[in-house]
Structure formats: structure tokens, C-alpha cells
Amino acid sequence: MKSRLNFIFNTHMPFVRHPEYPKFLEEDWLYEVMNESYLPLLRMMYRLRDDNVPFKLTFSLSPTLCSMLSDELLNERFAAYLDEHIELGDKEIERLKDDPERKALAEGYRDELIANRTFYTDVCKGRILSTFNELSNAGCIELITTAATHAYLPVFKDYPLATNAQIETGVLEHNRAFDRMSEGFWLPECGYYPGLEEYLTRHNIKWVSLASHALVLSPDRPEEGAYKPVRCPNGLYCFVRDERLASLVWSFTEGYPTDPDYRDFYRDIGFDLPMDYIRPYVHEPDVRSFTGYKYCAVTGKTAEKKVYDREKAAQKALSHARNFLYNVGCRTRSMADILHDDPIYTVSFDTELFGHWWYEGIRWLEDLIRLAGEDDAIDMLTPAEFIASKPEVQTIHPAQSSWGEGGYSAVWVDGATNAGYFRHIFKAIERMTELAERFPYQKSLKQRFLNQAVRETLLLMASDWPFIIHYQTSAEYAVKRLEGHIQNVNLVYDNMCKNAVNTEWLVKAEKRDNLFRNLDYNIMNRAHLDEPSPVYTAEF
């Protein structure tokens, strides 16, 4: 019996773009993951392809991320970010000339930055999406879409137009970015509720991935658990996450990334060195932030950290790759007497875990893929390939579920820090629907005004803001964004009720929140749901 690995990577960043400032702390979220995750991952996949190592991975690229990766300003700023950090590397190598261990690490980081810069410029030509698409064309990866702004859909269950707008915009933006239909749809935070599948199949989506408990808590008896995909009654395929395998990697308390030999994420010269030295590489006014130059190993929950040893960590990554495949093999052998087909292990992660949070994660993945390529008992597959084989699977009603803490919606609606915003978010959606129905098919300025209002509504629905507020990581920023988008929708509403257009606001808003340029506000008109999905007729 063979084990079939179905890796799915959720690649998403919230839309953060502030042209009004020369440098903005929260924009670094994007630059950090581009430098530490996306480019190293792409380089790793190119290596595998060039070495003729077979691999199959699935990447969901969120529409907000696609917009940012295609944005000229953000790409210019990212190139400057790389140059700035290469310069910091040179400074570090000089500073550490009498400390050979740390100096070698600094050289390693600087060389990685230079390799990324070269790859980004020469191979990607500044267009990371094209590079993903090339790997997709080569049959190595499956690219899929997700909700327009990564909205956590179960909380919008009673707002069909807003739900459809998130899905339809996600599908259309994917088509525009990659010139092909997305067969799969990443449910943000694996958030599912019974009935959501109807919106998805309307746009020709064939599959989603669900949280691990979606089958066990179903009102129907699941036959083969997560080892084989199932179908909703309307035909949508569901690939259920294997929590056990994911926990080998994901857990912050016992997953591979917590190994003492791996690099510590938090020890960074941005926080350790004097401000006079680090000032050009952090943010004004003297706000310390991560620089990527980190010299300590995890070691343990102690202030006395060991110096990071690249070779030792690389050996550990290889051993953890073997351990992962060993676990897969053991599971398959132990299930051989009760499963009818080769089991499929669906393992999904946030992409930024690899390289950004878990520095050795990309190395681990590459080792795993190379080992799997040599192992006849292991196959990699993508959901689209599985579906193309026209498999017979069980039809079942999955239960409402998410991969958030507790398995439902308590992270995004916690009743304490973030739930209060939903009265405003819901009202904004209601107002947007009212405007779309009172003023259908407008032209010129009013059309642009209403289109911008829908962009603001979609941005308001992003799962990121309540998530950040719940975990109190960059809460002030998330609150500002929520309040800003609420204010924007209300501004359009108040103006339109007076039959006016605030052109000064419109011009600024279009420049700032410049995503989804083909968005049509009539998507929020109830009549829109009676029309066939535009994915069948749109030209890209």
C-alpha cells in the first residue's frame, strides 16, 4: 500500500500598502515573507525541477497577496528592502570580524539576500506570480485561489451577497493573475459551514480543504476518515487535514521548529544592538523591528542561547524529514487492513511558517521531497490530479469547522476584543447592498465611487483584523484599518444618499487601496445572484 502526500500551502498576506509614507512598519510583513519564504521556496522548487526530482505541491495565493506582488510601488520598495539588508550584512561582517562563528552566520544571511536579489531580478523579472505560474505550467504545483480578502466566511453566513462577492472576486482575480481557472478554493482559516459549497460550485470550484474534525462531527458516518477525500451532496470534493501529521510541524510547543538546534526566531540584532547602529534598518522614530540577522539557536526557554550552528541544524532538518516520512509509513502500514485504497494525507500549512518562522523549514521540505522521490511507497499528488482520476468517494455533510483554536469561530468572534466590530461590518455590508440596489449600473464618477466602496467593504471583511486583535500582535494597526474601512463605506453611503460624490476622497482611496481593478459594485446587488457566474464568460 502506498502513502499519498497532499501538501497545501496557504499563501496569504493582508493588503497593506501605504504610499503616503516613505517606509511603513507593517509593510515589512510582506517584504519579510517575500525574502524569507516565497523566494527561497521558489528557488528550492527550481532546484528540484532542474534536478529532475518529481514533486507535487498546492499553493493557494490569496487575491490580496497577488495584488501586492503585482504592485509596482511595493515591488520597488521590496528591492530597496533587499539592498538595505545586504548593506546591513556588510556592516555586520565588519563588526563581527573577531567573532568567526557569528561572522560566518552574517555572511550566510547576506549571501542568501544576494541570491534572492539575483533570483528576483533575473529569473522572476520582478514578477513572483509569473514564476509560480511557470512551475504550475510545468505540472509541479497546483495554484488555487481563496476569498478576495481572506474573509473568514462562517461569520458572514447570513450575508449571501458578501459571501459570493468574496468568492467570485477571488476566482476572477485568480483568472486574471494566472490566466486559468482555479479548480480549488482555500477556505480562509479552513472556515466551513454547511451550505457554503453552493457558492463555491456556482463558480466552478471543484475542491476545498477542511479542518480535521469536519468529518468526525458530521451528522453522517464517515467511512474512511481523513484518509480519503469526500464529497458534499452538491459534488464539491473535500480534502480533510490530517491533524496528526500537521502537529509534527505546526505545534509551537512540540513541533519540529521547537528543536533546540534550530534557529531562534526572536533573537535578532534589531532588538539586541544599540539604536545608533541599527537605526537605518529599523523604523522611525526608533521603533525596533526584525532585521533577519539572528545568531542564536532555540536552545530552550532560557536567556542563555547557544550560537546557531547551520550544519547541525541542517542535519536535524534531514532527520526530521526522515521522521515525518517514517510516521507516514507507520500510519499506512497500521491501516492497511481497514482501508480500501492507498491513503491520502492532506497536510496544510501557512506558507510563511517555512523559512520565515521556521528558518530550516524549506530545507526540511526539500529533504522530504527528495527522500519521497526515492521511496516507491510514497507518492505526492495534488487534489486536481486526484479528482481527474474520477475516484469513487463517500458523499457526506461535513460539519461546521475551522482550524482556529477550539475548531470554530471563537478566534474571530471572541466576545471580548474583536466581536464588537461585527455590528459595524455587518452594517457596512447592508449599506453596500442598499447602495448597489438603489443605484444600479451607474457610469463614470458614481460608478468609481461605488466600486471603491465595495473594495473597502471587502477589505473590511478580512479575517486578519479580528485575528490580530484577538492575539494582540499589532492590534493598534488592525483597529485603525477596521475603523478606516468602516469610515470609508459610511462616507460613500452618506454621500450617495445626498446624490453626491466626494471626488477628493475617491482619488485618494483609489490610489491607496488600488486592488481588484475590475471589481464591479453590482456584485452586491441581489439580482447578481440570479445571473450565471461570470467565470464562464469573462475575458482575461
Partner: protein
């Protein structure tokens, strides 16, 4: 807010955070005093000071603390969001398997009517059958100042809705009614015998057991696991 285990931070990192937070004598405090001072500042019982729970996800973090930069403070936003939108409505959002977050608003006209009549307010949670007929209900006394409540949905496999009801003596009048929520009941909850079958555990539950031998902290799932463990204990006792 410190975003990682505080004991893991270097002396420099602690001192820099203390400086940022204007902790008194930050330049001369010992490591122990810095930690104590920051713990006091952030609250000793703050779970985030203890680091990460097993499955919580930290995203969009590029500082060690929740920094409020000048750029963020100067972003356009509203001084204060509207307290109400001049309408009367009540909404329910499912939080987890058996709790819902409920929020409502009353229009100024509605508030005036309530004040004039001297009526009290209750939030009525109604459990419904498959045809949306009421099966049971319970009331929560609320005040005119309340705008939200977390409501228990005690039975799986039912639909629920809440209503705001004005009560004056024996007389009741429904002001507004919410959307309907549905809780699902696992097939295994209604067929507990199946949980005694070892093959069921292997095929259906084995992919849910995490590395440390635990399952995600989901109440319904934990309940099924408890039943399964109880069945195993009984079997062992019988042997």
C-alpha cells in the same frame, strides 16, 4: 504586550522594551527586576507572557511588542465608531459548538417608546425544531445599556434564534428577532456503540490525535473521546 516567552529575551531586549514602555530606572534595573517590572506592566496573568500555546498562530509580527508607531497613530480613522445606526435589529454569530455571540441595537425611537412605557427588556433564546417551531426557550434579563451577550446553545442538532422582548407586567411584545443558527450533532454522538469499535478509532479518529496524544480542544470532539476512553476502560475492567 510582549509576544514571546519573557524569560527567553536577552538583557538587551528586555532593557529596550523597558525603555520603550518608559519603565522607571530601566537603565539600571537587574534582569530579574526588568522581568518583574514588565510582568507587572503587562499583567502577571497574561498568558502571552508564558509564550505560545500549542496551536495558537502568531502572524504579522515584526516586533517583539505591539508597537504603536507614529505612522499607525496618524492613519485616517474615526475618533469613535457610531454607537448605533438608527435601526433596531439583533444578530447571532456562532462562536463555537454551543455558544453564540449576540449583539443588537435599538433605534432612538424604540428607546423612547421603551422609556415611555416603562417596559423592561429580555433577550429570549428559543430552541427550534426542524420546522422552526419553538421547542424550548429561556430568558435573560438585560438592561437598556446592554448591547451584546454571549448565549449558550445547550443542545446539539437544533436550530436557535434570539428575540429582544419588551416586558411590561404580564404583557410582552417582540421588538425584533435574529437570524437562525444551527448546531450540528455528530453521528457518533447518536451512535455511541460505534465508538467501541477499534477499527472506527483507527480509520476515523487516528488522524485527529496530535503528537502529544491530545486532540484539538473542541468540546464535542473531547466528549466523543471521553466516551471512547470510558468504553475502553469498561472493556478492560470486564477482562
Amino acid at each position: 504586550m510582549i509576544l514571546i516567552n519573557i524569560e527567553s529575551l536577552s538583557d538587551n531586549e528586555l532593557r529596550n522594551i523597558a525603555q520603550q514602555e518608559d519603565l522607571e530606572d530601566w537603565e539600571t534595573l537587574s534582569r530579574e527586576d526588568l522581568i518583574e517590572g514588565l510582568e507587572e506592566l503587562y499583567g502577571e496573568d497574561d498568558e502571552l507572557l508564558d509564550g505560545n500555546s500549542a496551536n495558537s498562530k502568531k502572524k504579522y509580527v515584526n516586533t517583539l511588542t505591539d508597537v504603536q508607531s507614529d505612522n499607525v497613530l496618524s492613519l485616517p480613522g474615526v475618533e469613535r465608531l457610531p454607537e448605533s445606526y438608527n435601526d433596531t435589529s439583533v444578530h447571532m454569530i456562532l462562536k463555537d459548538s454551543d455558544w453564540a455571540y449576540v449583539f443588537w441595537s435599538l433605534s432612538p425611537q424604540q428607546i423612547a417608546e421603551l422609556e415611555e412605557s416603562g417596559a423592561g427588556l429580555i433577550l429570549r433564546n428559543t430552541r427550534l425544531d426542524a420546522n422552526d417551531g419553538p421547542v424550548a426557550e429561556y430568558d435573560i434579563d438585560i438592561t437598556p445599556d446592554d448591547t451584546s451577550w454571549t448565549v449558550e446553545l445547550p443542545y446539539a442538532g437544533f436550530r436557535y434564534r434570539v428575540s429582544l422582548v419588551a416586558v411590561s407586567g404580564e404583557k410582552e411584545s417582540v421588538i425584533c428577532t435574529s437570524n437562525t443558527l444551527e448546531t450540528t450533532e455528530s453521528w457518533f454522538a447518536t451512535h455511541p456503540d460505534a465508538l467501541e469499535d477499534g477499527a472506527v478509532f483507527r480509520s476515523v479518529f487516528s488522524s485527529l490525535i496530535m503528537k502529544g496524544g491530545t486532540v484539538i480542544p473542541n468540546r464535542q470532539l473531547l466528549s466523543l473521546v471521553e466516551r471512547m476512553q470510558s468504553a475502553q476502560r469498561q472493556e478492560a475492567d470486564a477482562r
